[in-house]
C-alpha cells in the first residue's frame, strides 16, 4: 500500500519548504517525491534600475543565514562588469570573511538545524555522566587525528580554551539542564518531535548526551566564530561591502582606523576559536555519530550526487582581473570548478569536466527552466541563460484542494516557486559534498595541480575513508556523506581564515594598506553597457549572479542560487532536482514519521529564501501593471 505524506512546514531550515512523498509501506521505499519552495519575493525585480554599487545590499537580503555570500557574489558581479581589480588586502579580507562563513554556517547547521535528526534530548537524560565523560575521551582518542590536517599558517598555536570538558561534571550540568526542561512540561523548541522513532535508539544514551550538550554549548560559542564579519563589515548578519574592495580602511598608526592592530587581534582570536570549534567539537561529534550510522548500514540519500555534481570554485589566492575573461579561475585555491558524473561508480570511473569562464557566459551551458515552476516564459519549453532571464510569476494552484488551501501539489503541472537550473540540460547537485567530489576526482585523476586547499580536501577524505573502512565512492554519496563533507569543509574554511589572515599580516608588513580601488567609483567612468558574472561557492553550493548594466543602472539581474539547483522541481524532461532524488533514494521506516526524509533534506542545509527570480525589460509593464493598483505604503 502506498500513501502520500506531506511535510509542511519543514522546520530548521531557512525559508519555506514543502515535501510530499509516496511510500510503499511494505518495502519502505519512496515511490514518488515532490519538493516545493513555497515563497517568492522578487528581489531581482526590485534591483532593476538601481545603482549597481548598492545592489549588494539588496541581494545580500536574499539570505540572512549564509549572510554575506550574496553580497560577495554581487560585488564580484559588478566589478566583473566594470573591469575593476580590487587590492590585495581586500581580496584577503573577503576570503577571511568567506572562511568565517564556512566555519560558522556549517557548525550552526550541524548542531542547531540538523543534530536533532540524529540525536534526542530525551535519550540524553538516560546517560550516565561518568560513562559519557569516559566515552568523550575515547572518541577524542579515536578521531582526534583529524586535527592534524589543520595547518596553523599563523603559527600562533593559541591555547585551546574551549576544549571539550570531558568530565562528568560538565556533562552532568548539561544533563540537568535538559532534565529540568523536560520536567517543567514546557519543552519549547524540543516539543512535539517524533522522539519515539526507533532511529533514536540506535546510539547509546552517552552519545546523545555528548551531542545535546554540545548543541547547547555551541549555541553560545557560535557567535564568537563570526566576529571577523563584525570587525571588517560592521555587523553580522549582513556585514557591509563596497564595489572596488572593502570599506574597512587599515592604519597601524591610528586607533580610530576601522582596522588597526587591536582590531586584527580580535580577528585572530576569533580565527583560533573557529579552528577549535571545528577541530575539537564539530568534526569529532560528526565522526562519532556518522560512523555508527554508517556501520548500521544507513547509506541512503545520495540521489543525484551519485550521478552529477557541479561547482564553480573559490578562494582567489590573489586579486584577479576578471571572471568572465578567465583570470579568476587561474587564481583560485579551491578547485571545485567542474562537473563530476558517476562518482558512485568509483573515483577512477567518474567523469570530470572542468567548468570555467566560458561555461558561465555560454548561453547554452547554464540555463533555467520554468516548466514546473510558477513562472512563465514566452516559450515555456525553453531554458534561458541568466543574462536573458525572465521572471513573470504565474501561480496555478494545487492538484487537490483549493487555490489557497492545498491538499496535494501537482507534480505534473507547476508546483514550486523555484526554477529549474540545468547544466547542458542536465540537473546537478551542488554543495560541500559536490565540491569534495569534484576536487577529489580532479586531483586523483590528475586534472589539476593541487593547491594546499585541494590537498587538504583529499587528505580529509582519505582519513575518513580509513576511519570508516569504506572507499569514498561508498560513503560520500549518502546523507551521512553530505553531512560529513560539510563538517570537513568547516575545518577547511577555518583554515582558510587562518591562511588569509597570515597573508593580510604579511602584506601590511610590506607596507601596503590599501583596501579599495576607487578609480571607477563614479558612474561617469563606466561604459554605457556592460555585462558581468559574479560567482562564489556559498556554504550551500555554487552561487552565480549575472548582471547587465545600462547607462549606469541595472538593466537585468539574475541570481542562480544553490538551493535553486538542489531544490528545483522537475524540468521539461521530467528530470528531478537533488532534493527529490535524495528522497527517492531514502528508506522510510514509518511513513507517518518520515524522520529519514527530514534527515536527508536537512543534510542539504536548504535555504529557501533564495527562490527569487529575474526580470526582463519586455516584462516590465506586465509586472508593474499587475501590482500597480494594490501597492501598499
Amino acid at each position: 500500500m502506498s500513501s502520500r505524506v506531506v511535510i509542511d512546514p519543514v522546520s530548521r531550515i531557512e525559508g519555506h519548504l514543502r515535501l510530499e512523498i509516496e511510500v510503499d509501506e511494505s518495502s519502505h521505499k519512496v515511490t514518488n517525491a515532490v519538493s516545493a519552495g513555497t515563497m517568492w519575493r522578487g528581489i531581482e525585480l526590485i534591483v532593476k534600475n538601481r545603482d549597481p554599487r548598492e545592489v549588494w545590499a539588496f541581494t545580500q537580503r536574499i539570505c540572512g543565514v549564509c549572510t554575506t555570500i550574496h553580497a560577495l557574489a554581487s560585488v564580484r558581479n559588478i566589478e566583473d562588469a566594470l573591469d575593476i581589480e580590487i587590492p590585495k588586502n581586500a581580496n584577503y579580507i573577503r576570503n577571511i570573511m568567506l572562511g568565517t562563513l564556512y566555519a560558522h554556517d556549517h557548525l550552526v547547521h550541524f548542531y542547531h538545524l540538523h543534530a536533532l535528526d540524529w540525536v534526542s534530548p530525551l535519550e540524553a537524560i538516560k546517560a550516565d555522566p561518568v560513562a559519557t565523560a569516559a566515552l568523550q575521551n575515547q572518541i577524542l582518542q579515536t578521531y582526534g587525528g583529524i586535527i592534524s590536517l589543520y595547518t596553523d599558517f599563523l603559527g600562533g598555536n593559541a591555547y585551546p580554551r574551549k576544549f571539550p570538558k570531558a568530565t562528568p561534571g560538565y556533562f552532568k550540568t548539561f544533563q540537568d539542564k535538559i532534565k529540568n526542561l523536560v520536567q517543567s512540561g514546557q519543552l519549547g523548541i524540543f516539543a512535539a518531535n517524533w522522539w519515539d522513532h526507533p532511529d533514536y535508539k540506535m546510539l547509546p544514551p552517552e552519545v546523545h548526551l555528548i551531542a545535546v550538550s554540545h548543541y547547547l554549548n555551541m549555541l553560545d560559542v557560535q557567535r564568537e566564530l563570526v566576529i571577523p564579519h563584525v570587525v571588517f563589515g560592521g555587523k553580522n548578519p549582513h556585514p557591509h561591502y563596497i564595489v572596488g574592495g572593502m570599506n574597512c580602511s587599515i592604519s597601524m598608526n591610528d586607533m580610530n582606523a576601522p582596522i588597526n592592530m587591536e582590531r586584527l587581534a580580535v580577528v585572530e582570536d576569533a580565527v583560533y576559536t573557529q579552528a577549535e570549534a571545528a577541530n575539537l567539537f564539530y568534526l569529532i561529534d560528526l565522526l562519532a555519530i556518522g560512523q555508527i550510522y554508517v556501520q548500521k548500514g544507513w547509506t541512503y540519500g545520495g540521489g543525484l550526487s551519485k550521478e552529477r555534481v557541479l561547482g564553480y570554485g573559490d578562494y582567489p589566492d590573489e586579486p584577479y582581473k576578471s571572471i568572465k575573461n578567465g583570470d579568476y579561475h587561474q587564481k583560485i585555491l579551491y578547485h571545485s570548478n567542474g562537473v563530476v558524473e558517476n562518482f558512485a561508480q568509483g573515483v577512477d570511473k567518474a567523469k570530470y569536466y572542468p567548468l570555467t569562464n566560458k561555461d558561465l557566459t555560454d548561453p547554452d551551458v547554464i540555463q533555467e527552466w520554468v516548466t514546473h515552476s510558477w513562472y512563465q516564459y514566452p516559450n515555456n519549453n525553453e531554458g534561458l541563460h541568466p543574462w536573458n532571464g525572465i521572471t513573470d510569476p504565474y501561480y496555478t494552484g494545487p492538484k487537490e484542494g483549493t487555490k489557497t488551501h492545498w491538499k496535494y501539489l501537482n507534480e505534473n503541472g507547476k508546483y514550486s516557486w523555484i526554477k529549474s537550473p540545468r547544466w547542458k540540460n542536465l540537473p546537478a547537485e551542488v554543495g560541500p559534498l559536490a565540491r569534495y567530489m569534484i576536487v577529489y576526482t580532479a586531483v586523483k585523476q590528475g586534472h589539476i595541480k593541487p593547491s594546499w586547499m585541494d590537498e587538504m580536501v583529499v587528505n580529509q577524505i582519505e582519513l575518513v575513508s580509513k576511519l570508516l573502512n569504506l572507499p569514498p565512492h561508498v560513503w560520500m554519496p549518502t546523507t551521512v556523506g553530505r553531512t560529513a563533507a560539510r563538517a570537513l569543509e568547516c575545518q577547511l574554511g577555518a583554515n582558510a581564515s587562518n591562511y588569509f589572515l597570515k597573508k593580510l599580516y604579511d602584506n601590511i608588513k610590506a607596507g601596503d594598506t590599501s583596501v579599495a580601488n576607487m578609480e571607477k567609483w563614479e558612474p561617469s567612468t563606466w561604459p554605457s553597457q556592460a555585462k558581468g558574472v559574479g560567482i562564489s561557492e556559498a556554504p550551500r553550493g555554487a552561487l552565480g549572479h549575472w548582471c547587465i548594466i545600462k547607462d549606469g543602472k541595472i538593466e537585468n539581474y539574475q541570481a542562480v542560487v544553490p538551493t535553486t539547483w538542489n531544490g528545483s522541481p522537475r524540468d521539461e524532461k521530467g528530470q528531478q532536482g537533488a532534493f527529490e532524488r535524495s528522497m527517492q533514494d531514502t528508506i522510510v521506516l514509518i511513513a507517518k514519521e518520515p524522520l529519514e526524509i527530514l534527515r536527508s533534506i536537512h543534510s542539504f542545509d536548504p535555504c529557501l529564501a533564495c527562490s527569487t527570480h529575474v526580470y526582463n525589460t519586455q516584462k516590465e509593464e506586465v509586472v508593474s501593471f499587475k501590482i500597480g493598483g494594490a501597492c501598499y505604503e
Partner: protein, 355 residues
C-alpha cells in the same frame, strides 16, 4: 509545573546561586535602560513571573532576525530560550516539523489563549491571494491572523515585519505589507533593523516578559529605550562631523583616520537605533566603525530613500534633544543649516570644491 514556574525558580533549577541571580538582575536592568533603583523591581518580577510561551512565525524574510537573535551575548540566547521564555513554535529552531509542529502550535494557542507572545519575522504578501508565502499549504497571512487572535501582544521583528523591508521596496512585486496592516487589534512592538541588534531583541523580550507589558513605545511603536536616539547622536565619529573632518572617498586618508562618513552617504543623521551606543557584539563594532556609512536599515522605507552613497541633502537637526517622533515623521526634507555650515568648514579644510 505546567509553565507556572518563575524565572528565579527556573534559574535555581539551573544551578544559579542567589548572588549570581542578583548580579544578573542588575545587568539586565541596565540593559533595559532602567536606573539602578529599578533593580529590586526586576528581582521581584523575576521571582514572581512565570515563563511566557512564545510563538515565532516567519513570513517573507531572509531569517537574519533569527540569526541575529542567537548572537545575543547579554543575555545569552541560550538563557533566553531555555530559562526565560518557552519558545514553543519557531520554523528555524523547532525540532518538530510538518503536521506535528502545526498541531503543537494549535495546542499552545488554545492552552495559553491570551497569554502567549506572538513574534513575527518577515511579513505577509497580499498579491495572488497571499500565495507568494505558503506555510502548511495555506497562505502565511491566514496563519498570521489566526495566531494574532489569541496573542497577548505581538512583536514585529526587524524591518520586514515593522515596515516591509526589501521585498516591499519598489516595485514590491509580491505586495508585501508590514504586519500592522493586517493585525489591527493587538498591541504591536516594532523592533526594526535589518537585522535588529541582538541585545535589542533579547532586551525587549526581557522587558516584556518581566513586567508583563510592552516597554514604553514611541509614536511609531518602537521601544523608546532602544530607538530614542539617532545613530548620529551617539556616533563615535561625531566629533569629526562637528569639526568638519570628512571622508571624501573610500580608503582615503580621512577613512584611515576614522573621520565622519557623512559625505559617503551615511544615514546616521536620520536613523533611530542603538548602533551608536550599544553597537554590535557587545560593543565590538558597528557599520560606521568598520568604515561604511549607515544605510538606515531600521528606518521606514530605507531602500527607497535614495541611493546609499548619495550624500544626505538634509539633516533634520543638529541637536540630540530633538524629538524622535517629530523628526521621524519629517526625516527627509527638513532644514539642514548645521550640515551646510559643516560642509563649508570641510571645504576650507580640504581645499576641494564642494559638490
Amino acid at each position: 509545573m505546567d509553565g507556572k514556574e518563575t524565572f528565579w525558580e527556573a534559574l535555581k533549577r539551573h544551578g544559579v546561586s542567589r548572588r549570581e541571580f542578583m548580579k544578573f538582575s542588575a545587568i539586565i536592568t541596565g540593559l533595559m535602560g532602567l536606573p539602578p533603583a529599578f533593580i529590586p523591581k526586576v528581582v521581584e518580577a523575576m521571582e514572581t513571573k512565570p515563563r511566557v510561551p512564545v510563538i515565532w512565525v516567519h513570513g517573507l524574510e531572509c531569517t537574519c532576525c533569527s540569526e541575529s537573535f542567537i548572537r545575543s551575548a547579554t543575555p545569552l540566547a541560550s538563557d533566553v530560550l531555555l530559562t526565560m521564555i518557552s519558545l514553543e513554535y519557531d520554523d528555524t529552531l523547532s525540532a518538530a516539523a510538518g503536521e506535528a509542529l502545526e498541531k503543537h502550535k494549535e495546542d499552545i494557542m488554545k492552552k495559553y489563549h491570551g497569554e502567549y507572545i506572538l513574534a513575527v519575522e518577515g511579513n505577509p504578501p497580499l498579491g495572488d491571494d497571499g500565495m507568494y508565502c505558503v506555510v502548511g499549504g495555506k497562505p502565511f497571512l491566514e496563519g498570521l491572523k489566526k495566531a494574532a487572535e489569541g496573542a497577548k501582544a505581538v512583536i514585529a521583528w526587524g524591518s520586514c515585519a515593522s515596515w516591509g523591508c526589501v521585498q516591499a521596496a519598489k516595485p514590491n512585486p509580491t505586495t508585501a505589507v508590514p504586519i500592522h496592516k493586517v493585525i489591527t487589534d493587538k498591541p504591536i512592538v516594532k523592533i526594526p533593523g535589518c537585522p535588529p541588534i541582538p541585545e535589542v531583541m533579547t532586551g525587549t523580550i526581557m522587558y516584556t516578559v518581566l513586567f508583563g507589558k510592552l516597554p514604553p513605545l514611541d509614536s511609531q511603536g518602537r521601544p523608546k529605550m532602544f530607538y530614542g536616539n539617532r545613530i548620529h547622536d551617539t556616533c563615535y565619529r561625531r566629533p569629526f562631523f562637528n569639526e568638519g573632518m570628512f571622508v571624501e572617498q573610500f580608503d582615503d586618508e580621512g577613512a584611515k583616520k576614522g573621520w565622519c562618513l557623512y559625505k559617503m552617504g551615511c544615514r546616521g543623521p536620520t536613523t533611530y537605533n542603538s548602533c551608536g551606543n550599544l553597537r554590535w557584539y557587545n560593543g565590538l563594532s558597528y557599520p560606521i566603525q568598520s568604515g561604511h556609512g549607515c544605510i538606515g536599515c531600521s528606518a521606514d522605507g530605507f531602500w527607497d530613500n535614495g541611493n546609499f552613497y548619495s550624500r544626505e541633502q538634509n539633516i533634520p537637526s543638529i541637536g540630540t534633544e530633538s524629538n524622535a517622533n517629530k523628526v521621524g515623521a519629517v526625516a527627509v526634507g527638513a532644514a539642514a543649516a548645521g550640515a551646510i555650515a559643516h560642509g563649508v568648514i570641510s571645504k576650507i579644510r580640504s581645499g576641494k570644491k564642494e559638490d
